[in-house]
């Protein structure tokens, strides 16, 4: 196809017409100049990308994120608490279904129902205690490094851990007075999980910088 100067814009929009407009440009200085500029714009553009070192930017961001207030009920629930909740739910459901049968046997075995519920609760409590103990061990290691650190993010981590500890203490008190409340127990587990993550992040961070 033979193209003219007036076809230039149409050709630039249509890749199939480019060979024809290039053929025209061989004879036309003005169009040759326009095609040259068109391709130079794309060739030079990547050179406008700006790149520079920002050695402290991530640390600033990290300190900001670490200082973000603890969000109760945010994020994903720890997987094991889903299991714990499911187990508790199953127990409750089973208890409800078996209730008529127990009622008929109540005279014979009056303590069965309480024993079943109590044993499920004890199982959850034991798991909680073991989990809390493991986090306290981690805490002992991390706190030592945290107290002696001069890193800028250390203050943010200290502040976040103090907040978490306060929330954990508050929820522990609430759980003690309402032992069968699964929602409170889930919230408590989420806080422990956040504390574990915070401690591990801090330890990783401290190891990176020393």
């Amino acid at each position: 196809m033979i193209l003219e100067c007036s076809d230039l814009e149409r050709a630039l929009r249509t890749p199939e017409l480019m060979p024809d407009i290039r053929a025209h440009a061989e004879q036309c200085t003005a169009c040759r100049e326009q095609l040259y500029l068109w391709s130079e714009i794309s060739r030079l553009a990547p050179g406008l990308h700006q790149e520079w070192e920002s050695p402290f930017l991530w640390q600033r961001i990290q300190a900001n994120l670490a200082a973000e207030p603890v969000r109760r009920g945010s994020g994903l629930r720890p997987q094991w608490w889903r299991w714990a909740l499911a187990a508790t739910g199953t127990v409750v459901l089973a208890a409800a279904m078996l209730q008529p049968m127990w009622q008929t046997r109540r005279s014979a075995k009056p303590a069965d129902r309480e024993l079943l519920t109590e044993s499920a609760l004890q199982e959850v409590q034991q798991a909680e205690k073991a989990y809390a103990r493991s986090i306290e061990k981690l805490s002992a290691v991390a706190t030592q490094k945290l107290e002696s650190s001069s890193l800028p993010v250390a203050a943010a981590y200290r502040e976040k851990l103090t907040l978490l500890d306060a929330e954990i203490a508050e929820l522990n008190a609430a759980v003690d007075s309402n032992r069968y409340n699964t929602y409170l127990r889930m919230e408590l587990a989420a806080l422990y999980r956040q504390k574990q993550q915070t401690l591990q992040e801090w330890l990783n961070n401290a190891n990176h910088n020393h």
């Binding site: 714009i41 794309s42 553009a45 790149e51 961001i61 094991w80 299991w83 187990a87 073991a130 990783n204």
Partner: protein, 187 residues
Amino acid sequence: MVEASLAPLIHPLPATEYANETELLAACHRREIRAFEQVYMAHGARLKSIAWQILGNRSDAEDAVQETFLKFYRGIEGFHGQASIGTWLCRILINASYDAARKRKREVESGTEEPPASKNQLPLRVALDDALRRIHPRHRMVFLLFEVEGFRHAEIAAILEVPEGTSKAWLFEAKKELKRMLTETRR
């Protein structure tokens, strides 16, 4: 039963690596700072460059990136991988940068910091940089994302919330405007 399912949780979390974006996003949802660090490592440089193009100086660009990560962290619950993390961050960054630019304009009317001039810069490269500041902001943004930062039209469409065809049309307009300005400069 419960104790058995507890075991994986008590073990230390994996150090830093997340095999793919799904895992990375899941870790971000759990608010693991290491995951956000990995996101920063992957996208930080490009975000800084885009912010610089809007704000014109490094300090403000870094502030915009910082603000972007804070907003990303706060809003992570609402993000479920409907776009890529890079696309999502870029959208936050552009909004944060324009907010910062507006705020700065209100506070003080001052010129932007010019990029460090290299002695071997070609005149056309300088002219292009200058012309780019004068074209329509929408066209400029598409040009920057596509030609400078290497995003695809589908990604730009997601970032700017416009149809892909619009992104292509704006890119064409940007190049046409730039070509016209460069032609005038060379005369």
